[in-house]
């Protein structure tokens, strides 16, 4: 990812081992490109003592070892990186695209009706809005490298659950605020779960652990509950020439 020039930023102390850099331009897209470009630059700059960077929407958390490098030095790296962003041509690779089959509602999406009610629209309309959008993976978040995305065009933000669930299954497709996500692993969660994909998203025997990265494209596609088993356990993979159905045959899954 590269940008012509970095968005203006503010840097906040975040303890003795991290800094938070926030991009503060009016343009969300520019902020996002800036923090991800900075994270990539920091990742590759080879500076001693930098552990890594966690970029999200408008901010990046830069983690470092305070024995090897001081917060002041890291601040200087960050400023250098921001300047470099404007200079480098960047090596943006084409985004990968993913097709994500989802069973909506029922036991797969226990909060679907609640979301529809709160939005004042029908369940079908919620599904239509959710499948209609083309999603860009904005960042990898908790838990386990979840693809965090801008949410569907719902009339209003979706409130989080008052009582977060102790366990949300892997594959849960959820929305909250103006965001959308898939849960790669089972974990507690306060987002509204509207569906579930039968595909396996996380594979800890493989690197990277999740197949997508920030900037990649995701689309949700409704499938019937009876077809859940047909896809169950098949790994989420980028779409190549072949369609998802052909991939399914290759993996040997039986309908």
């Amino acid at each position: 990812m590269s940008v012509l020039a970095a968005a203006p930023t503010e840097i906040y102390e975040s303890g003795d081992s991290a800094l938070r850099v926030v991009a503060i331009s009016e343009a969300g897209e520019h902020n996002w490109l800036t923090v991800h470009g900075l994270a990539d630059w920091l990742e590759n700059c080879g500076a001693e003592g930098l552990h890594g960077a966690v970029p999200t929407y408008d901010s990046v958390l830069v983690e470092f070892d305070p024995i090897l490098v001081s917060a002041r030095q890291v601040r200087a790296f960050v400023k250098l990186g921001l300047l470099e962003l404007g200079r480098s041509a960047g090596s943006a690779t084409a985004p990968q695209e993913f097709d994500v089959p989802v069973v909506y509602g029922g036991e797969f999406g226990p909060d679907l009706e609640r979301v529809a009610q709160h939005q004042g629209i029908s369940v079908d309309e919620v599904i239509r809005l959710h499948t209609e959008k083309t999603y860009t993976v904005r960042c990898l978040g908790a838990p386990a490298g979840s693809p965090m995305m801008d949410g569907p065009a719902f009339p209003k933000p979706v409130p989080r659950l008052k009582d977060p669930r102790l366990s949300v299954p892997a594959g849960a497709v959820a929305v909250a605020g103006r965001q959308a996500v898939i849960a790669p692993a089972s974990a507690p969660g306060g987002w509204c779960v509207i569906g579930q994909t039968p595909l396996s998203v996380l594979n800890i025997r493989r690197e990277p652990l999740v197949p997508y990265k920030p900037g990649d494209i995701l689309r949700f596609r409704q499938i019937r509950a009876e077809d859940f088993g047909q896809y169950h356990g098949v790994e989420l993979e980028p779409q190549a020439m072949a369609s998802a159905d052909v991939d399914l045959e290759k993996s040997g899954a039986q309908p």
Binding site: S14, A53, T56, S59, L61, I67, A142, A144, I204
Partner: protein, 337 residues
Amino acid sequence: MSGEILIQQPGNSVVTDLGRTRGPRFGLPVNGALDQYSARAANILAGNLDNHPLVEITALDFRMKSTTDILIAVTGAPLTLTVGGRPSSQWEPVSVRAGETVSIRGIHRGLRAYLAIHGSIEAETLLGSVAPDTVVGFGLQLKEGTRLLTRKSVGPVRQPYFDLPLFRLGLDRPRMDSDLLVDVTDGPDVAEFGASGELLFTSEYAVSGRSNHIGLRLGGELPERTSSGEVLSRGVPVGAVEVPSREELLVLHRGRGVTAGYPVLAVVTSTGLDVLAQARPGDKVRFRKTTVAEATAAHRRSRAHLETLRESVNTVFGLLGIGCRPQWQDLPVAACS
């Protein structure tokens, strides 16, 4: 020569290291030993590299047996350590003969102990670390009958060496009290709490039983967020102090999810995180404000202390013919006696 360690009573124990520093980039928490000072000290005392895999024992009694002669070191929470029934010292290298049982009992002040074995132990890695990640289901939780492979054997270290005050190293052992003082710096969102943020420094908090490696929940007077509105998910530092509910303060530790949408009131310092790693349910916590510069200086002082320890250990191990250097075992026995 490698050997095998048989876990007889696992209690609550895992194989870990200093953490998965590459994890947060990929949405995985850093995890690893919660009390980093004690974990490093254990490995140094066992003649290992700081980041070598070792055993983290939380709260419960633990027993194991080795098929070969080994050298171990146990640090962290105070406890009763016996080797082959003989009382042995913590924070010192301890020689264990083949077949002897190592028993760790009675952790009652502090919560976590660290057991390092010279030459370390074999364990699978994920993104370069053996540290367990409970969310993705990775890691080696020890069970009764688990067999760990050790990489090196160390013959029994003979007296008089361990009788000499060689190992009275003046090592700072962390204090383990039920009243904990934890240093924090202002968080990036401190302004969102207005004047109520000061409550963090005037109140006393009680550690809830619902605390773990992900975070500690603390009951007490809670600062309140004065701003409202949706916060976009952001990377959260280890040590972040948040007020997610009206009931408890949440202090995130090394197992924290890397992103969240709550404002960060304060951040616990590196040395403060080691203190919290030893907090037991019911313990009292007070927070003290410091600056990043002071926190960094304190952290560096504590690490310098461990470097001094490393030098002393290297000297003594050199004398005894124990070492990490390759082929040390090929040295003539005469060099060791």
